[in-house]
């Protein structure tokens, strides 16, 4: 058993690892994360998760419901720390898993992955309590600076794969299920069939912008044969400074989350039922309306934006004609909000049912060959990928110890 596996086992038991191991872990993680672009490309199947906020036992529950890593490919959209009592264990476990299975685990940055915020909302105090010094906090904050700002999921199918072995795949193809909600045990609770796609595209040519500044891998063309657009995952939302995904790639992300600017907005903004952009009551980031999302998705060939950042009592909430979804993965938030949590599963596209589903858009996003071609003549937004939400509740109270902070051992005053 390698040291890393040992560390994972120890953290899974909710016991922190020694400071020296944390340092080493963070060092390794940094080497890994430095190689990631600001927007990481992830291929379906993937399970997308929202805020965790140090609720370690609920993270364990999430793994139980969503499948254990590395069997399940996970994408966490930030806010691993603060508020809950086990920020340290939660974040370190995720980081360990990231280092151990780099291709099966994607972590992007949330607004709480910041020095300023963690000093106010608990992570700093927690590290101080658990290690007696702030060094571990410093190591972790260093890693925060390296975390990617977003992810693009490619190759998501518009047909779900079965939730368990008892169900045949054919059902999903025939029934054309777009959305399915499952409970923690994998039982289907509700299904929604795909509506005929008569959504109109926003007017104007909305030409795909020229080659990206970076030239580094194309924006979001989707993988070969995939007829759904890509899914952009980001913690908060959009920014008025970012009109294409490639603009995100031009940010120098290795820094504390600034108080304004594109990087800040991506981590702080919220969707809202308004026209255009609005001031955010949070004092950082913006509010953005359906029109903004539509134009952005259209321009970037996206079918969906997945984000976290806001508590939703049902665990997930689709907005703006399913062009954006909020996923929230901290059940009974702060141990008292009474909400349920959810993860979003996107199935892998295995190509066969594409032809059946071809609706005139097929071949558009064929992995770069046609990239750069203007989108004129095309009609309508991309079909959303088929989505399965697995909803779960807080871990049974008894499965964990009493959640509590670690007390200060000694005192002089």
């Amino acid at each position: 058993m390698s040291d890393l596996d040992k560390a994972i086992a120890q953290l899974r038991a909710c016991r922190p690892i020694p400071e020296s191991q944390v340092r080493e872990l963070c060092h390794k993680a940094r080497e890994l994360l430095i190689e990631e672009g600001n927007v990481v490309t992830v291929t379906a199947p993937v399970t997308i998760c929202g805020d965790i906020h140090g609720q370690f036992h609920d993270l364990m529950e999430l793994f139980r419901v969503g499948g254990d890593p590395p069997d399940t490919n996970y994408l966490f959209m930030g806010d691993f720390v603060d508020r809950g009592f086990y920020s340290l264990e939660s974040f370190l476990l995720l980081l360990c898993l990231k280092v151990r299975y780099p291709d099966r685990m994607t972590l992007i940055r949330g607004n709480h992955e910041s020095r300023q915020i963690t000093t106010v909302y608990g992570f700093y105090d927690e590290c101080l309590r658990k290690y007696g010094s702030a060094n571990v906090w410093r190591y972790c904050c260093d890693v925060f600076d390296y975390l990617a700002l977003g992810a693009i999921v490619l190759g998501a199918s518009n047909t779900l794969s079965p939730p368990n072995d008892a169900v045949s795949r054919d059902v999903y193809v025939e029934e054309d299920i777009e959305i399915e909600v499952c409970n923690a045990d994998g039982d289907v609770m509700s299904q929604f069939r795909r509506q005929p796609n008569d959504r109109k595209s926003p007017n104007g040519t909305a030409a795909k912008t020229g080659p990206p500044g970076s030239g580094a891998s194309g924006s979001s063309g989707g993988s070969t044969g995939n007829s759904t657009g890509a899914v952009l995952c980001v913690h908060g939302g959009l920014s008025p400074l970012i009109d294409t995904v490639d603009k995100i790639r031009l940010l120098d992300r290795k820094q504390e989350v600034p108080h304004e600017g594109a990087m800040c907005d991506l981590l702080w903004s919220d969707p809202d039922e308004i026209d255009g952009w609005g001031l955010s009551p949070r004092g950082a980031g913006f509010l953005f309306g359906p029109d903004i999302v539509k134009v952005f998705n259209h321009r970037n060939d996206l079918s969906l934006i997945a984000r976290a950042h806001q508590l939703v009592m049902e665990g997930f909430k689709e907005m703006f004609e399913a062009s954006i979804v909020t996923v929230w993965s901290a059940p009974n938030y702060c141990y008292r909000c009474g909400n349920v949590a959810a993860v979003l599963e996107l199935s892998e596209d295995n190509g066969e049912q594409i032809l059946a589903r071809s609706n005139g858009e097929f071949g558009r996003s064929d992995g770069g060959v046609a990239r750069g071609v203007m989108m004129e003549g095309e009609n309508g937004l991309k079909n959303g990928p088929a989505r399965r939400y697995r909803v779960f509740q807080a871990a049974p109270q008894d499965s964990r110890g009493m959640p509590a902070k670690k007390p200060v051992a000694d005192y002089f005053l």
Partner: protein, 873 residues
């Protein structure tokens, strides 16, 4: 008086003064004897009343008031009953001579009030809620016995559901010492192993604590109660199979470390109480605390801490004893360590105090020799002590850096090595990351002379340190000047030695410690460059710092490369001609391109950082760098030309190649708007280009001292030859455009047109000597007007451009930064004044155009805002 007939045998005990609240003062209405009884009113109806008859004139009634459910009598202390008169709303008080009398009357009143309470069934709270605001209904709970726990719990739960119920319950719990009565039951239930009862007790205790009453909580953490209270809370029914071990934790007396005996028992009590409160808050109740109880606990802790610290710092004996620990060489090392940690905790607590209180604490500490303690601690071989000492130092610096600086000045004056030198030594050898980062922070603050920082660069400054220095007032202290001078003479080279040592080094492989050292040093260096303009500039030049740092681009560690790129990016971000020139001379652009070429086409942090570097050059149109880059690294650019950005750079250069000599001229002058947007246009920029033209010293002098008008005039003059020379206008103007083409053409040509027409003395000289003429020509009055108009026009274009494109210039927040060149004071101020008129609003407008609602200041709000959201959830 003695002859007076007495209605009750205990009259004496009911001697009472009647008070009425008038204008916030208690007005004495007289002294008398108080009775409380049912008085007959018509038709056999009886009404409970409190009556006071005057002592001197027995016939006179000082007070007659009805006890009805609205009036809420309260008993305060032993001898006081207060209420609000229902008829007129006046606040009244009865002050009894003796407690017994008060108790007797109170018993009667209380009984009556309880009857009202029982009449009012708990069910109809909806009706009574409003009325009940000022009338808590006294309650009585079943006796605290094991058998009644069920009943007690349900009654309490019901009462705690309403505001008046809570109030009444609070009073009852306090007056009956209900907690004290419940506590024995915990032990009993444990003996009986009756989990059910234990869970009930836990619930009851939770309800009592969440009543949120300061006195109850204080009582709960008192010596007598605390163990029982947390004992009950160990059996949380939410976790039926778990039992916490709060008692074990709190009973461990070894947790309290007493370095110096605290004589005052009250204070000592508070120390323990505070610890328990913290334990309660963080551990016992962490999961169930609501915001109100949370803040009650916090404020209790806070006030205790204030008392404790106030007591200690005013206690000379205590302080002497504390600091003497460090003076006696024979002292136990453990005790010394504890003493450092004690002081550390004091300082940590002091952070919450009001600044004046903190000031006195530090003053007293320093007077007793705190600095020696820090010195001792910093060199201690135990990391915990070093951490403690740096913590203390940093918290003092945080509080008032000037305080420490004064000490340093004194040290300098006395020819002692200043504190900063010890810090530097420590920084270079320290292995603990926390101490290291503390020390580097401390150095930054101490060496900060506090000129206004550039917002852009500042926002990018990493880490905790950033927030701290934000609102400092600029001061120009001669002592600080002297200190800085000494620092750059002697200490800087020591500090940056690891960097300077790179000089003879070829292999760029470092140990982890070394590598992290570089990140700290470069971070400090960045700070110095922002803060100490000419001094740091000289240092950078003198020690060939750019070259040294640039060497790190060749190291295998990617994060070091990143640090290096960020350093260089900051240099160009300053928009200081000196550094831009320096970067070209040191030829560090090539290595950056190499890093990029190595990295591309991978999309990673390194390539993003590199691209951002060149994107900035493009966006800010730093011509010298474009020129330098293209002229020297054309091959590399071409190999990267699949990236649009580099194609652009090449293209721009090539388009203007016909005017190589004039390139700078042209760029500098024609795109006034761009220049102005990049607010710290440095007039000295011309110096560089003059090298191509060979201009004599006198003229250079003139340029250095010329004022704003001259400057503008000259710029306009510079433009003229190009226009007149029939150079392809569109192309030229195009160059000026930043990213947008069409609008810029319009803007540019209108600029040219107006400047041409408005100009009284257009230069018609040839390219070789446009300057001299421009300089010598007088400035006709209309010039200013036209200039002004032209600027306004530019401004409009700018706005419309921004609006049309919804593109915010603030992506390069640099544009807001004020000039740092420090070469020509006068020009600087003129430039920034112009910025204020041009740059600032433009940016504001662009923001508001894109968000429609004006811009906020997210900085501090972000925290506050997030707090609100928390409240909401």
């Amino acid at each position: 008086m003695a002859a007076q007939p007495v209605p009750h045998p205990s009259t004496d005990k009911k001697r009472v003064k009647v008070y009425e609240l008038r204008n916030n003062d208690w007005f004495d209405r007289g002294t008398g004897f108080c009775t409380a009884a049912f008085h007959l009113i018509e038709e056999g109806q009886r009404e409970p009343r409190v009556v006071v008859e005057s002592e001197d004139q027995p016939d006179r009634v000082l007070l007659e008031t009805k006890i009805c459910k609205e009036d809420g009598f309260h008993k305060q202390q032993e001898t006081l009953i207060v209420w609000t008169e229902p008829s007129n709303g006046v606040d009244m008080a009865l002050s009894f001579q003796e407690a017994d009398g008060c108790t007797m009357i109170w018993r009667f009143i209380n009984n009556i009030q309880q009857q009202f309470q029982s009449v009012m069934a708990p069910g109809d709270d909806s009706l009574s809620d409003d009325l009940a605001m000022d009338m808590p209904n006294p309650v009585s709970l079943p006796a605290a016995t094991m058998g009644n726990l069920d009943e007690i719990e349900s009654q309490m739960r019901m009462m705690s559901g309403t505001a008046n119920g809570r109030e009444a319950l609070t009073k009852y719990v306090l007056s009956e010492d209900y907690i004290g009565r419940l506590i024995p039951l915990v032990g009993d239930a444990e003996d009986l192993e009756s989990l059910n009862e234990l869970h009930r007790l836990c619930n009851i205790m939770k309800i009592i604590i969440l009543l949120n009453d300061t006195s109850i909580i204080e009582h709960a953490v008192s010596d007598e109660c605390v163990i029982g209270v947390v004992g009950a809370l160990e059996y949380d029914p939410d976790f039926p199979s778990h039992k916490a071990n709060h008692r074990q934790w709190l009973e461990d007396s070894g947790r309290y470390k007493e370095v110096v005996r605290i004589e005052d028992s009250q204070i000592l009590k508070k120390v323990h109480q505070t610890y328990r409160l913290q334990y309660l808050k963080d551990v016992v109740l962490a999961r169930i605390l609501d915001d109100n109880t949370f803040s009650v606990l916090n404020s209790l802790i806070f006030f205790n801490q204030v008392d404790i610290v106030q007591h200690l710092q005013a206690n000379g004996n205590f302080l002497s004893e504390l600091f003497d620990i460090f003076k006696s060489p024979g002292e136990d090392l453990k005790r010394k360590k504890d003493a450092v940690l004690f002081i550390q905790q004091c300082c940590a607590i002091a952070k919450n105090l009001q600044p004046p209180a903190r000031q006195t604490l530090y003053n007293n500490f320093i007077a007793h020799g705190l600095l020696q303690v820090i010195n001792f601690g910093l060199r201690h071989n135990d990391v915990a002590v070093r951490v403690g000492a740096t913590d203390v130092l940093v918290s003092m610096i945080d509080h008032d850096p000037q305080m420490i600086r004064q000490t340093i000045y004194r040290q300098i004056h006395e020819k002692q090595p200043p504190l900063t030198d010890s810090l530097i030594e420590l920084l270079l050898v320290e292995v603990d990351l926390g101490v290291k980062s503390h020390i580097s922070d401390a150095l930054k603050v101490l060496l900060d002379q506090g000129p206004p920082m550039q917002p852009e660069v500042f926002a990018k400054a990493n880490g905790e340190y950033a927030a701290r220095t934000q609102n400092r007032m600029p001061t120009a202290d001669p002592q600080q000047e002297r200190f800085l001078e000494l620092f750059y003479e002697h200490s800087a080279a020591k500090l940056f030695k690891p960097l300077l040592d790179l000089k003879d080094r070829v292999a760029m492989d470092f140990t982890v410690q070394q590598a992290s050292m570089f990140t700290y040093l470069i971070e400090i260096l960045c700070f110095f460059i922002r803060q100490h303009q000419h001094r740091s500039k000289f240092f950078v030049l003198n020690h060939d710092i750019v070259k040294r740092v640039g060497q790190l681009l060749a190291c295998p560690e990617k994060f070091l490369k990143l640090v290096t790129i960020r350093f260089l990016r900051q240099l160009i971000g300053l928009n200081d001609e000196f550094y831009i020139k320096h970067l070209s001379e040191k030829r560090v652009i090539g290595p950056i391109l190499d890093v990029l070429m190595e990295t591309m086409p991978r999309d990673n942090l390194l390539s993003s950082a590199c691209l951002e570097f060149f994107e900035f050059i493009r966006k800010e149109m730093i011509k010298d760098l474009i020129k330098h880059t293209v002229e020297n690294y054309r091959d590399k650019l071409q190999s990267l030309s699949y990236v649009e950005l580099f194609r652009f750079l090449l293209q721009r250069y090539d388009q203007t190649r016909g005017f190589t000599v004039n390139l700078d001229y042209f760029l500098e002058s024609s795109d006034d708007d761009v220049a102005r947007r990049r607010t710290n246009v440095n007039p000295r920029a011309n110096v560089h280009l003059m090298e191509h033209i060979s201009i004599d010293q006198a003229e250079e002098e003139y340029w250095n001292t010329s004022d704003d008008e001259d400057d503008l005039q000259a710029k306009i003059g510079n433009r003229a030859p190009l226009v007149n020379g029939g150079s392809p206008n569109t192309k030229l103007v195009d160059y000026a455009s930043d990213e947008e083409t069409d609008e810029a053409v319009v803007a540019g040509s209108s600029t040219l047109a107006s400047s041409n027409t408005g100009e009284a003395t257009p230069e018609k000289t040839d390219n070789q000597a446009p300057k001299s003429d421009g300089v010598t020509s007088a400035i006709p009055p209309p010039e200013r007007l036209s200039e002004k108009r032209r600027r306004e026009e530019d401004g409009e274009d700018e706005m419309s451009k921004l609006i049309q494109h919804k593109r915010r210039n603030s992506t390069s927040p640099n544009s807001n930064a004020s000039s740092t060149s420090g070469v020509i004071k006068k020009k600087k101020s003129a430039t920034s004044a112009r910025d204020a008129g041009g740059g600032g609003p433009k940016i504001a407008i662009s923001i508001s155009s894109s968000i429609k609602a004006g811009s906020g200041q997210p900085g501090v709000d972000s925290l506050a805002a997030d707090k609100t959201t928390r409240r909401e959830v």
